[in-house]
Amino acid sequence: AAGVIQSPRHLIKEKRETATLKCYPIPRHDTVYWYQQGPGQDPQFLISFYEKMQSDKGSIPDRFSAQQFSDYHSELNMSSLELGDSALYFCASSFGLAGVSEQFFGPGTRLTVL
């Protein structure tokens, strides 16, 4: 079965650079979630989109922005990168509105900021 695809899988950037992470949800899934997992931490919710509109927002820094496109893929844009942004970034997708909404996670993008 098709799974959530994230690219790139690994990314190395310098401080103050920008990074773009991409997420391709499972076909027919219309909701995308982004989570950040720092070293030794639990995943923290950043932001989610349903039908290309932002549906919820968590502890996402103002330096980060995200959007969901017409084909339902999503991109997380990160600017002015800081050392503390080094983390594993997960994308998850689900189908539908409130109700049963199991989230399927991608393999993650490991971002290292030097």
């Binding site: 919710f45 349903y50 919820d56 996670f105 393999p107």
Partner: protein
């Protein structure tokens, strides 16, 4: 707002022994509850989930979990642990009434398996 507590940061268990991981949640109504497993450097794999109905939920890899509303708990169990079960386990809660609802994760429990 929902929250999740996993009281045990580390658990060491012998191979073949039983395993129980604790999870307590805080939420105003009945939440959606999940257990995920994560191997080092890997993604999150769903073990099992509870949405409604039977409070004893069967999952993959021989795991089960029991939802106890009176105790706000959703503990994960496995009768006989295999060495491959060594990983980090996360309990998570979701809010049923919200569209695009986020998952809130507990701090995780790292399981070590002794031969």
């Amino acid at each position: 707002a929902q929250s999740v507590t996993q009281p045990d940061i580390h658990i060491t268990v012998s191979e073949g022994a039983s395993l129980e991981l604790r999870c307590n949640y805080s939420y105003g109504a009945t939440p959606y509850l999940f257990w995920y497993v994560q191997s080092p450097g890997q993604g999150l794999q769903l073990l099992l989930k509870y949405f409604s109905g039977d409070t004893l939920v069967q999952g993959i890899k021989g795991f089960e979990a029991e939802f106890k509303r009176s105790q706000s708990s959703f503990n994960l169990r496995k009768p006989s642990v295999h060495w491959s079960d060594a990983a980090e386990y996360f309990c998570a809660v979701g809010a049923p009434e919200a569209a695009g609802n986020k998952l809130t994760f507990g701090g995780g429990t790292r399981v070590l398996v002794k031969p």
